[in-house]
């Protein structure tokens, strides 16, 4: 049919941006020499993955999976409810990512104090 399926476009956009975020993060981690940039890259990857979760959990024009009176009404009227599990997982993942980033940044600070540089290719006192 000739009507444009917005859901299609939007989902493509969301998936694309999620993948794109992951790739950007990867680029930062692998190519950037500065420790902070690497950490930023890591959190970008996290963001990408989280977005991917939400996108997968989403069902076209479904309602939020919240146990409320009008939520029940909507479901009664046949409006689908988006899958709650991914959202739950995303919450956990976000928390974990936050923790990791915090630890990483503290390490970066300490490394900088000790080496007076934040370039990862100059911090190679442990090798072979």
């Amino acid at each position: 049919m000739d009507t444009i399926d917005y859901y299609q476009i939007m989902s493509i956009g969301v998936y694309g941006s999620a993948i794109g975020l992951i790739l950007i993060g990867l680029y930062a981690v692998l190519m950037k020499k500065h420790l902070t940039k690497i950490v930023i890259g890591l959190s970008i990857i996290d963001a990408g993955i989280n977005l991917l979760f939400i996108a997968i959990g989403y069902i076209s024009n479904g309602t939020a999976p919240i146990y409320s009176s009008q939520g029940i009404d909507l479901v009664k009227t046949g409006t689908p409810m988006v899958d709650p599990v991914p959202q739950a997982l995303v919450l956990t993942a976000i928390v974990i990512g936050f923790g990791v980033t915090a630890v990483a940044l503290s390490l970066v600070i300490r490394l900088y104090r000790h080496h007076n540089t934040a370039r990862i290719d100059q911090i190679k006192s442990l090798k072979w």
Partner: protein, 501 residues
């Protein structure tokens, strides 16, 4: 109150979070409470292991949500064995790190909190029956490991920790994506149900997910191209933490790998992949170890090599092979623990932990040197010590599958192993100690811990039957996929389940 697998996770986690308060009450409590907690876990494991040996797998559902909806803990003979082993090792490590000087100079509170979290995470990884829960525990383990690696406020600790973190977050990312894709395919997170529904996942999807899992968990299990972080982390972390990595963290990673391959997926070639990657890991690690100058780094590489052997043995996948692999996991935990503990006292004061300063320590520190020599003899698999039996089982299993080249490889590599271990042992027993070599007197806890491990090595070496029945059950439980699923989902249809081995 009734003993249940939940205590493994709840009690240490609770203790970890209560510890700051306890520290307020009395400073000593921060050191004692972890010991008590782990002792209680030991009691729990004794009770549960007896139940399991008697009546088979225990499945604990959390908050009354039955599988596949709720999170559940599966305490099978296999997971139970690993959990008990980890508990025991955790107790020994606690003994060792109790009043461990270098740790004590830092605030012991942080150390023990992180240690408790580490124990929770690793045991949780082993026990959980839910794939996302698995991921959460993995992250708990990872974060506490990062912090413990960087525990010493010197430059190298931070560097090792950062490398570990860099690679580790890759691991978590991959595993997360894998879980996500898996969820889109099978629409559940319960491992047993995943295993049930796995057969109608399209193959290419299955393989992609498997690869993501393999890479992610391979990082935790120190598989070759992914293990760049391991030597640094092992050698820079405080020695009790080094032991923890060898005894708990790596074991958890290997467990994940094995659980994914053996239970969740039914993909051909995964076992061969394990064998090949294990062999490469073994060779690379041992070859890297032979030229090491720092003792702890040498031990780290050797530990990686042992993991390679474990992977090979799991990859062979017959009952004897899996038996040998589990036995080797046990031996490696005990022996490598002893080696790390005694070795760290040997190189306590030597400049950057180098081996060349160890001449004549056999006279100065007779007990520690004796422990180290015992560990060296055991780890290279010389009878009548524990390491010999696991090696023998694995080789027999390999021979029964006509893998003579593989046996030759393992044996050839263990000649290399012998070289670098006996260089150290030989050096310990001749020559005069070099100038300014200050011997560090070990703490009583440390001595007790090492003696416990030494006794275990000797007892298992002289009379392996004390442990073999448990390992036999563990191997059967791991290989019997249908039984695992049935114990979690009593009314799932097992018609589609296919055991590749």
């Amino acid at each position: 109150m009734v003993i249940s697998p939940v205590h493994y996770i709840a009690v240490p986690l609770l203790a970890a979070f209560l510890m700051p308060l306890l520290a307020k009450i009395h400073r000593e409590l921060t050191r004692i409470v972890p010991g008590l907690v782990i002792l209680y876990l030991g009691y729990v494991s004794v009770v549960l292991m007896n139940q399991v040996m008697a009546h088979g797998t225990i499945v604990e559902v959390i908050a009354g949500w039955n599988a596949p909806w709720g999170i559940n803990l599966v305490y099978s003979p296999f997971t139970g064995f690993l959990a008990s082993m980890m508990t025991a090792m955790a107790f020994v490590i606690w003994l060792y790190s109790y009043r461990f000087k270098k740790v004590d100079s830092q605030p012991a509170l942080k150390y023990f909190i992180l240690f408790m979290m580490l124990v929770t995470g690793t045991i949780g990884i082993v026990l959980t029956g839910d794939i996302f829960n698995f991921f959460v525990f993995l992250e708990i383990t990872a974060i506490s490991s990062y912090s413990l690696t960087a525990f010493y406020r010197d430059r190298d600790g931070a560097e090792a920790a950062f490398k570990y973190l860099l690679i580790g977050s890759f691991a978590s990312a991959f595993i997360l994506i894998a879980i996500l894709l898996l969820y889109t395919q099978v629409g559940t997170l319960n491992m047993a149900q995943i295993a049930v529904r796995m057969h109608d996942v399209p193959t290419h999807m299955k393989i992609t997910i498997l690869i993501l899992f393999l890479v992610g968990l391979g990082i935790e299990a120190e598989m070759f191209p992914l293990n760049g972080w391991a030597p640094d982390a092992y050698s820079q972390a405080p020695s009790p933490v080094g032991v923890t990595f060898a005894a708990l963290v790596v074991k958890a990673g290997v467990y994940g790998l094995i659980r994914i391959i053996f239970t969740l997926f039914d993909v051909h070639g995964a076992y061969e992949y394990l064998i090949v990657m294990g062999a490469i890991t073994l060779v690379m690690a041992e070859l890297a170890a032979i030229r090491q100058k720092s003792l702890k780094r040498m031990l780290a590489y050797s530990s990686i090599g042992q993991m390679g052997v474990v992977m090979i043995a799991f990859g062979i996948g017959t009952n004897e092979a899996v038996f040998g692999a589990i036995f080797l996991m046990f031996n490696h935990a005990v022996i490598k623990g002893l080696l790390f503990m005694s070795g760290s006292y040997l190189v306590y004061n030597t400049p950057n932990k180098e081996i060349q300063y160890l001449s004549g320590y056999g006279m100065k520190m007779p007990l520690i040197s004796l422990f180290f020599s015992l560990g060296a003899l055991a780890i290279v698999g010389l009878p009548p010590f524990a390491g010999f039996w696991s090696k023998l089982y694995i080789l027999i299993a390999a021979a029964d599958n006509q893998m003579i080249g593989l046996i030759a490889l393992i044996l050839g590599v263990s000649i290399v192993e012998i070289v670098y271990y006996f260089r150290v042992v030989g050096r310990l027993y001749f020559g005069k100690p070099s100038k300014g070599s200050i011997m560090q007197k070990p703490t009583y806890g440390g001595v007790i811990a090492m003696s416990l491990l030494a006794i275990v090595i000797l007892v298992v070496g002289f009379y392996p039957d004390v442990i073999t029945p448990y390992i036999h059950n563990a191997a059967d439980a791991l290989l019997d996929k249908a039984q695992y699923i049935h114990s979690v989902l009593p009314n799932a249809d097992l018609s589609q389940i296919q055991n590749l081995k």
